[in-house]
Amino acid sequence: MNAGVERLRTIQLTKTFPGVVAVDKVDFDVRPGEIHALVGENGAGKSTLIKILGGVYPPDGGQIVMDSRQVVFTSTHESLASGISVIYQEFNLVPDLSVAENIFIGREPKYCWGMFLDFRRLNARAAEILATLEMPLDVKSYVSDLSVAQRQMVEIAKALSHDSRLIIMDEPTATLTEKEVRKIFEIVKNLRARGVAIIYISHRLEEAFELADRITVMRDGRKVDTRAIASTSKNDVIEMMVGKVVKEYFAETGAREAPKQPLLEVRGYSVADAVEDISFTLHRGEILAFAGVLGSGAHHLLQSLFGVIPRKAGEVRFEGALVRIERPADAIRLGIGYVTEDRKSSGLLPAMSVLHNLTVIVIRALSFLRGLFIRDAAEMKSFATIRARLDIKLAGPNQRIIFLSGGNQQKVLIGRTLLTDCKALILLEPTRGIDIGAKAEIHRILRELADRGMSIILTSSELPELVNLPDRCIVLYKGRKAAEFTRATMDSEKLVAAQIGHTGGTRA
């Protein structure tokens, strides 16, 4: 490994968004021919950092130095031109074009005054690149026929075709099988051997420890430390990731007495390509959290329980009786509520007012003869009740919901489910994208609901939330149960370890 001239260095790089400092004066460097792992909890700032390097966001402060020259990007193209390629989690590939075409898209070799594609040269060049990386791919095959791992390879080849000197990979192996991961490792090591600098973001510590030369831990937007892999351990890293922040901003709550009555029993549940043979019991008045990083299947599990995506196998009992939930309406009828993880795309009804958003789910119950005409008074009463109970801040019931703050929008979505008098509430990432104050409020609301007998099941990728909120926390890893914690046995380091596959004896 050449010490000395770094490939890339960031100096006091800073980026703020309204209400949060995403990247806080980060000094970071990567050397040529190095695999540098970048780890940190969700919200630590990794994504923002690489988006800045990729030219998606301009930094608010600090500098970027590439091969000893300061660079400034105002677009993704400029970043690419400077020699940086970013491979995001959602690929930018065109499914109906071939591998070779995707690699060279927009820069295909042409002839006849640039009108016709020179397929021979295109395929040959593509094959060359694939060969140097020892990728077993057919350049002529269509991307739509490729597996996720193979698409990953195409993205890497694309980066190489740009002669990128720094390649940033964001969770490249999150959804791959063991064999596929091996193959990707080979390729990444190959890249290293050719002098490319690689930033490798992953939640899987064992991978980082196997592949990387150095590792940098980020937390709350700041860099905690950079160490050589040889001189640190996984436990050290976990400790750095977790820190002491965890118990700072949530009120200590005493242990809650969770009634033992089961409400929901799930046995042998599987969802295609996501979750395999999960069993658990949800009790009345209990808050149960599922923790897991990308690829763990937590989201899919809950979505499937609500009927959003189909299940492959398993049985579900609600209040003792066997039930089949095939679509959301089935779940709602049983008394299960749902709050989506992406408000904007699947939760809010943007053209409608707050009032309508809130009452849409029970509007038939609020109307005369269940469908004839809406009783305005009843509707307003429901609105007022929920607004008071959840302390929603807004200008008025007829304000369009898109103008509310994130936290208040989330309250409206929760309020929606409350109107159905549900017995169980499913929430996916309940406080994502919400400021600290609002987070605490929502946690308070959820705890109150649980105290009154409602069962709550949620997923979260935010450590403080997982540690403080639920009565029980089940960690999923690659679709299976990896660990389980109660309030008594909760250990944030062990939780993070389980999430990233480092179980080492914490199986519950």
Binding site: V94, E108, F119
Partner: protein, 320 residues
């Protein structure tokens, strides 16, 4: 079953051709005569040519409902211009004017971001009005009988339209499968945001597509007008349905990204077979309309089932 469905996407149209052949054989003993076959092929020409254009439009993720009006406009201009500037120049100008409508369509869809349905529906109405205005509401007879040569003439015993169809097939084949433009069209239809991020000029690609559709329509109109020797401001109503049927039946996906040019050609021949056969057994024009409409619905029905089956299979975890 899954393999069958994937094969169907590529080769399903062949099945229809076979069906069509069986139908025709049962209807006329003359089917396998060269004359008949040439006739059928010649009649498939203008449907095929516009179909090639429509294939590109669908591949780009859009579609063009204004093809009839473009054909009408071209037809009218030809009728008016031939006496003035002679046949070759008249054809040139008329086709040019028709293609310009494509620029309009493309610009509105790409730059103004109005959806293709509304855009091409509006254009269709406006251009129809323009055609009627220019023609003064009448059909204009073309005196120059030499013009008929294009639509009804024969070269080496083969009707001229067939040559034009083959020529255009070759042209479009080169564009769609071999030119960078064609591949970019598929990219835009397949994943527009990825195409944009990769630096493709999506707007220009879209405009180009609609110009090509208009160009193809204009050329098809030349053939038709030459066959009738009349400039028709209200030319072939219902044609856009036939063209869409041909394109979809041929296997081009409505979602974009996958254009099946061979399929369009074969489907055009199939539809021509059906028309020919129905004409032979003296079925009224309206039944023919019905037939085409039902064929389209059938093709869509099959496509719908296919997609749902594959989705359900994916959910069960079966590799698709």
């Amino acid at each position: 079953m899954i393999r069958f469905l994937k094969l169907y996407e590529k080769f399903g149209i062949v099945f229809f051709i076979v069906l069509g052949s069986i139908f025709l054989v049962s209807v006329t003993p003359n089917f396998l005569k060269l004359d008949t076959i040439l006739n059928i092929l010649a009649q498939a020409a203008h449907g095929a040519i516009v179909g090639f254009g429509m294939t590109m439009a669908l591949t780009s993720g859009g579609f063009d409902l204004s093809v009839e009006s473009i054909m009408a406009l071209t037809s009218v201009f030809m009728a008016l211009l031939i006496p003035e500037i002679g046949i070759p120049l008249a054809i040139l100008f008329s086709v040019l004017i028709g293609s310009l409508v494509g620029v309009l369509n493309g610009a509105v869809i790409a730059k103004l971001k109005v959806n293709p349905l509304i855009t091409t529906l509006s254009t269709a109405t406006i251009i129809k009005g323009v055609a009627l205005l220019v023609a003064g509401g009448r059909m204009i007879v073309i005196m120059q009988k030499q013009f008929m040569a294009i639509g009804t003439g024969k070269l080496l015993g083969v009707p001229v339209p067939i040559y034009i169809m083959v020529l255009f097939f070759g042209l479009f084949y080169l564009v769609v499968y071999r030119s960078s433009f064609g591949r970019h069209v598929a990219a835009v239809g397949s994943n527009e945001s990825a195409a944009r991020i990769s630096g493709l000029n999506v707007d220009l690609v879209k405009i180009g597509v609609y110009v090509l559709v208009a160009f193809a329509s204009a050329v098809a109109s030349v053939i038709r007008t030459s066959q009738a020797l009349i400039g028709m401001p209200s030319m072939s109503p219902g044609f856009v349905l036939v063209v869409l049927t041909i394109t979809i039946l041929g296997g081009t996906s409505l979602a974009g990204g996958r254009g099946n040019l061979w399929g369009t050609l074969l489907a055009a021949i199939f539809v021509s077979m059906i028309y020919y056969g129905l004409n032979l057994i003296n079925v009224q024009v309206f039944y023919q309309m019905l037939a085409v409409g039902l064929v389209l619905m059938l093709a869509l029905f099959i496509e719908g089932l296919r997609v749902r089956y594959l989705q359900a299979a994916k959910a069960k975890g079966i590799k698709v």
